[in-house]
Amino acid sequence: MKVSLTVNGARRTVDDAGESETLLQVLRDHLGLTGTKNACEQGECGSCTVYLDGTLVCSCLVLAGQADGAEVTTVEGLSAAGAAAVQEAFVEAGAVQCGFCTPGLVMAAHDLLAHNPDPGDDDIREALAGNLCRCTGYQKIVDAVHRAASPTTTP
């Protein structure tokens, strides 16, 4: 199956995507964009989160065919040059340990801040409740989102 899509601003075409393959597999296996992660491949962990036509989705739940003609932004494309504020904030706040959850969390946090520039703790928890992290206990992830919302304050 042929799938054409725009990924991080560039037109990409995959000629041999399988019928049952997902957007996650297209990104990782066909396009070599391995920044998007695959911790469960059944919609439970959020590690595969990307923007699909501007909407946050679990790419493991999107069939490759559904992404045909779509515009996709992955963690690699979040900031054209260097790291976006939210990515910086994750590093500075210590919100990264093994980092396997990080791409998905960075995407989810980015989306939250786009809709709510100054979220409270509960807003953050609600927005990130679909992203599992096994390392951090989440506290520094909450810190990171606050930090990204107001980059000048240090915790």
Partner: protein
């Protein structure tokens, strides 16, 4: 192909240092094992046994022959060398040959041109099994006539510790309890994965996410029938571990397939396979009796421990040794009798998980301390303070605490941490109630409880194991700037070790630019990233190597300066070698040739148990106390953990940011075992091998964790620092369940606590009493008395 060598900026020992691999990770550039790629690589897939106990009657591969894209199908007969491996004993087949002993045991492996083709081929293999009886219950494993899981029988190890005489302890009050903890999964988000690349010399290069490169190699090479030097391991990005990567999973399979096909082979597990592909935390059954005098002096502890080791030994013998030595808690107890057994069953193998035997017994001894406090009418924190261990006192195993043991300090410090702000019962946000955004209560039927727990953990390997650390530090010029490079075989699995090693180099050499080379087996063995040991062991080796580099720089400075150096003491700082505080030579000018030094750091030697379980078996200890505050909705059995307060014995804090991250993350895993995490089995088969059915804490489940470090440096250890990776996990489960008991008044003797138990719909876990102790030749693991096969011992 693998993660880049990492360059670091900023941060010395004691400073808040951000991760050196932070930017590659937030931008998606960091290459985890599951991200590896080689042109022309094949993909592996594994056929696993669908049942837990059976004889292999036949294995028909004819359906695979000629399948498109299939390059190899390998079975037990294709294992080039010995078809056995294992951490403590080589009792586990690479591929099952005659029988399968647990559900999920690998039977055949396939390499094909795509993952889909590989899985298709696996589906075409016809595996005919003849059912065998199985043993799925750890008490049944001890019964006469039980099915023997291994030839040596079902007792893997029994440890007996005896001091004084509990019957004449003079206790006025006794309390008794029975406790159970469930099988827990490490649930590292990064799946098991690796890439094996055949080499021209007939050997293989394996890029893999593991916790100990050299122990992997030691197990892999004999199975491949290759000498060690032809099996080269390189660390690939590790997506968390928590013990799950201590054992071999896909390593040997990928190497076999690569050697057979002559092509790179990648093997990467999915989530379900991951549940079958690594060991778990041992489920435990614990019987305890505690005796105290009326004035609150703990005088006797009797404990019977039973751990389910599953089908193969893994590191079970060491887990049991830990559990037994910690069973009485961090308390001074004159009369003790502890009997611990770990058995083989046909359940999935259990082994290392954060805490390594300590969380289970902590759950028991802390519940007992609360019972005792109630029976005596003494405040539970006060009772713990009265009985706390201190330097000069000894463990039940007779080991005298010679180093730092700030037990009282962690208890007092934790108890003094601020309680959560008072909240009105009504009008809280959704996350303010049990059930969270489910909106199941607006405050009615809510009860609050507070629980407290103290625990401890040994640092580094025990029972005579000399798990030395080693590192090479090289200083050279890049342009006009000195750069220090660290090369070790130490595994960074997410906890922040490399950041810490770089902090040590900056501190010791005053060089800002530090590069950490990818870990591989070209570096010397530096032991496992586990047992909270790497800060001490690899950190110690880096510190020693730095001292030697410094000495070499001084020698060069002296010979360059001639008499100018005088007799002054030399130091490095701000890019100069200084003599008596005055600049003597620019470091950059001393580096025409790089300086490179390798150092090996040994911890103090430990001993083994005698026949009464007495022995100086551990190196040193890290203590922790946590207090949990919970709200329980008793109608629905739902819980909101309101706050966890933690006081952690760190010896000395090397990186406050890294430390609090360990405390918060470790607490989350303990919370998981308290409230939700359980690998559920029926006839040995895992029923919930997915993140849909095996729940781990989300951001909505986690309370704020308020943490404080207690700094009491460990003598004779680099910077006096102790690892903090495990102690928070150990106490969190016990503290949270204690808070649930306080809120509900229920017994809650099993972790995880189910909603049904909280709502009073399910009785406490019941017991017929402890099983009799098995008859064993001695304190050592039973297989040792039967065979000479070895695991890590060869590395000593």
């Amino acid at each position: 192909m693998t993660a880049l060598d990492t360059v670091v900026a900023g941060g010395r020992v004691g400073e808040r240092a951000t991760r050196l691999d932070g930017y590659p990770k937030v931008t998606g550039q960091f290459a985890y094992a599951s991200d590896l790629h080689r042109d022309g690589m094949l993909f592996g897939a594994t056929l696993r046994s669908p049942v837990a106990s059976a004889r292999i009657r036949s294995l028909d591969l004819s359906g695979v022959a000629g399948s498109p894209g299939v390059a190899a199908v390998l079975v037990a007969a294709d294992v080039p060398g010995k078809n056995r491996f294992g951490l403590n004993f080589d009792d586990q087949p690479v591929l099952a040959d005659t029988v399968v002993r647990y559900q999920g045991e690998p039977v055949a492996v396939v390499a094909a041109s795509s993952p889909a083709r590989a899985w298709d081929a696996v589906g075409r293999i016809v595996l005919e099994l003849e059912p065998l009886p199985g043993v799925f219950d750890m008490e049944e494993a001890l019964a006469d006539g039980a099915h023997r899981v291994q030839e040596v029988g079902n007792v893997l190890r029994h440890v007996h510790i005896e001091r004084g005489d509990t019957r004449s302890a003079g206790a006025d009050v006794w309390v008794e309890g029975y406790y159970e903890t469930a099988m827990q999964d490490q649930a590292a988000l990064g799946p098991e994965a690796g890439l094996a690349v055949p080499a021209e010399d007939g050997g293989v290069d394996l890029y893999v996410a593991t916790q100990w490169l050299h122990a992997d190699r030691e197990q892999i090479a004999p199975c491949l029938d290759l000498p060690d030097e032809k099996v080269r391991l390189h660390l690939a990005g590790v997506g968390g571990a928590f013990g799950s990567r201590e054992d071999i999973h896909m390593q040997i399979h990928a190497c076999m397939l690569a050697l057979r096909t002559g092509r790179p082979v990648k093997l990467s597990y999915g989530r379900e396979e991951s549940f079958h592909g690594h060991v778990h935390r041992h489920p435990a059954r614990i019987w305890m009796r505690h005796g105290a005098t009326r004035d609150g002096r703990l005088v006797a502890v009797e404990a019977r421990l039973l751990f389910d080791g599953g089908a193969y030994a893994s590191s079970s013998p060491a887990v049991l040794g830990n559990a037994a030595t910690f069973a009485a808690g961090p308390y001074d107890v004159p009369h003790v009798r502890i009997d611990g057994t770990v058995v083989y069953t046909n359940n999935p193998p259990c082994g290392a998980m954060r805490g390594f035997g300590a969380p289970q017994v902590c759950f028991g001894h802390e519940a007992q301390m609360d019972k005792l406090a109630r029976a005596l009418g003494i405040d539970p924190v006060d009772l713990r303070l009265r009985n706390a261990l201190e330097p000069g006192l000894s463990l039940p195993s007779g080991q005298v605490l010679t180093g730092s043991a700030p037990v009282r300090e962690v208890i007092a410090r934790c108890a003094a941490l601020p309680m959560p702000d008072a909240e009105p019962l009504e009008g809280r946000g959704a996350f303010g109630y049990p059930g969270g955004t489910g909106n199941v209560t607006r405050g009615e039927g809510i009860k609050r409880g507070v629980g407290f727990a103290v625990g401890f953990k040994n640092i580094a390997y025990s029972e005579g194991f000399d798990d030395a650390g080693s590192a090479r530090v090289t200083v050279r010029l890049e342009g006009d700037e000195p750069v220090a490079e660290i090369h070790t075989a130490a595994v960074e699995m997410g906890q922040g070790l490399y950041t810490l090693l770089a902090q040590i180099v900056r501190t010791e050499l005053d060089i800002d630019r530090v590069v950490v080379r990818q870990a591989d087996t070209a570096a010397r063995n530096t032991g496992s990233t586990s047992a909270s040991r790497q800060s001490m062991m690899s950190g110690g080796a880096v510190q020693m190597a730095c001292a030697q580099v410094r000495a070499a720089l001084f020698e060069r400075a002296r010979s360059q300066a001639g008499a100018g150096a005088g007799n002054h003491e030399l130091s490095v700082g701000r890019g100069w070698v200084n003599a008596g505080g005055h600049p003597l030579a620019r470091v950059a000018d001393l580096l025409d040739e790089p300086v490179s030094r390798e150092a090996v750091y040994h911890h103090r030697r430990t001993g083994t148990f005698d026949d009464k379980g007495q022995g100086d078996v551990h190196v040193c200890f890290a203590f922790a106390a946590e207090r949990a505050v919970v709200d329980v909705d008793e109608d629905l059995g739902l819980v909101r953990v309101v706050q966890v307060a933690a006081a952690i014995d760190a010896g000395r804090v090397l990186n406050p940011l890294g430390m609090s991250g360990q405390v918060e993350g470790g607490t989350a895993q303990g919370l998981g075992l308290a409230l939700m995490e359980e690998v559920q089995l029926s006839d040995g088969a895992i029923r919930n091998a997915s993140f849909t059915d095996y729940l781990i804490p989300t951001i909505a489940d986690m309370p704020p964790v308020v943490s404080a470090a207690v700094e009491d440096p460990e003598p004779g250890v680099p910077y006096g620092a102790k690892g903090v990776g495990e102690s928070p996990t150990i106490v969190a489960t016990a503290a949270i369940v204690a808070a649930l008991r306080d809120a509900t008044g229920r017994e809650l003797n099993r972790a995880p606590v189910s909603p049904d138990e909280l709502a009073g719909l399910r009785p406490p876990a019941a017991t017929q009493g402890p099983p009799p102790c098995p008859d064993v030749p001695g304190q050592d693991p039973v297989p040792l008395y039967f065979q000479s096969g070895s695991g890590q011992q060869r590395l000593m």
